[in-house]
Symmetry: C2
Subunit: 300 residues, 2 copies
Amino acid sequence: MNLKDFRYLLAVAEYGHFGRAAQACGVSQPTLSVQLRKLEEQLGVALFERDRKAVVPTSACERLIGHVRAAVAEVDAILAAARDLCDPLAGRFRLGIIPTLAPYLLPLVFAPLHEALPTLLLEPWEDQTLTLLDRLRAHELDAALLATEVDGSEFTSQPLFDEPFLAALPPEHPLTAREVVAEADLAQDVLVLADGHCLREQTLAACGQSGALGGTLRAASLSTLLSMVAAGYGTTLIPGLAAGTAQDMGIVLRPLHECTGRTVRLVWRSSFPRRAAAEAVGQVIGDRLRGFAKAAAHRV
Amino acid sequence: MNLKDFRYLLAVAEYGHFGRAAQACGVSQPTLSVQLRKLEEQLGVALFERDRKAVVPTSACERLIGHVRAAVAEVDAILAAARDLCDPLAGRFRLGIIPTLAPYLLPLVFAPLHEALPTLLLEPWEDQTLTLLDRLRAHELDAALLATEVDGSEFTSQPLFDEPFLAALPPEHPLTAREVVAEADLAQDVLVLADGHCLREQTLAACGQSGALGGTLRAASLSTLLSMVAAGYGTTLIPGLAAGTAQDMGIVLRPLHECTGRTVRLVWRSSFPRRAAAEAVGQVIGDRLRGFAKAAAHRV
DNA sequence: CAACCTGATAGGCAAGGCCTATCGGGATGG
DNA sequence: CCATCCCGATAGGCCTTGCCTATCAGGTTG
């Protein structure tokens, strides 16, 4: 029971002539004769009444031919859809992004991505690292932008750019007097994000445990944290791309003595079949951001 | 591009497991692996992401799978329809019948045909011999009941029963005095049907050209002819099965001296693929009518 | 570390799709 | 009336391909 046989059937029904139908199908006339006879045997139904003058579909054939046409049309639809889908750089691309990166990075890369990969339909999804990894595992995301290393063979990752951290200080803070701030000097009054944000762990690792509000404040977003800093409740580390936003809030920024920072990576399942799409996305983001993060930091 | 491949695809999508899908399809697991990989190459699209833990459809696959389901469903519909159609004794059977036979024969055979061939959907079509043959040629009829021989190899025919003619006389006609009427005696005032009715030619052949109204009367139906006879305008020959109707109109019937009659045949295209259905129909009609026509004539 | 599970791969067999060449039988035409 | 043509069926052979069993590779589990 081959699909071609159905095409043969339609051709013979259309032309009423084995020879011409065979020509239209690109096969020889005996092929059509044999295949159609086989089809008739398999279906247990005579499909055509052969006559010296003409080949006429039987009434049974006419009852079937609608379904045959529909089946062939569906298969053609499959082929057409596959042709559209066969470009790995086209179609949906569900990209997870961590919250401390999304609002600052997305506006920068959306246009370049659309320009470089016009057929790629980017669908950003903002969540914390572990959630993003779970969604990657569940095939609910195609790739994710993270700021942590991912080990194991389950995922493949591509470093895109290094993003330096900056010390974020209230305008009246004593450390604003310095050109460069040492990470350890922030430990006294550093504020951190809630559990689950990789920036929280990175900040604590660089500065040490906060003495003041660190234990009680559970800022769910960098935006909240910046407001707290701007209001003078403490200091924090911010990623370079957030520099502009922080300054707009009146926060004073300073480079860090040990140049602490993070590496933004694109991560996807090792078995992800559209590796080409992932790498292309990574390429565009990397090209746009390499240097930009550092420049943003230096503009302080 | 084989249909089975689509079934394999659906099975793997359903089970998320090559081994179980293979079992469901009744093939080995390597078969599925190979065939699906081929399908992926042919479509140019990765359909599944293989992982040690799970086999997950790609987003491309999810876009295609609706069409795949539809295509497979259509093919299944073809198979199901073919199973229903594969009985040659089932389905429409378009049966042509000449007008001098139809109103008398049909009421007798309709019930027996339905009883003997309950799945056969009889569609009677009343027309004159030549028109019926044209419609047979055009595949617009499956078979026809005629009262003439059909020569050539184009058609195959099966004699069903012999139908004697009877002399039909007005009540006051001189010939009513005889027990048996000679065909030639009717010649003087015999009335015949219009051109195209085989009964016209058969009557003229038996009795000779009509002297009286024969030239001007163009009765389109046996019913008209009988009314004319009943009204005393002339005589005619009627087929045996019309005896009851004629007597109800007050017409006097007499057997013919030379037992002139006609043979009713079932005729179909020699290439007609449902020969079995035609022969079965002929069998039922023959069984019902053999003897009946003669009995009707003798009851006069 | 051994056993097991799962999908991929290799090799071989048999079915079957397709080809060319030819047949058979009816229509056509000089 | 015979030669020719047309058209579908048939025969024989080639080669693809679908399927099998056996095995591999890599990961998980007891």
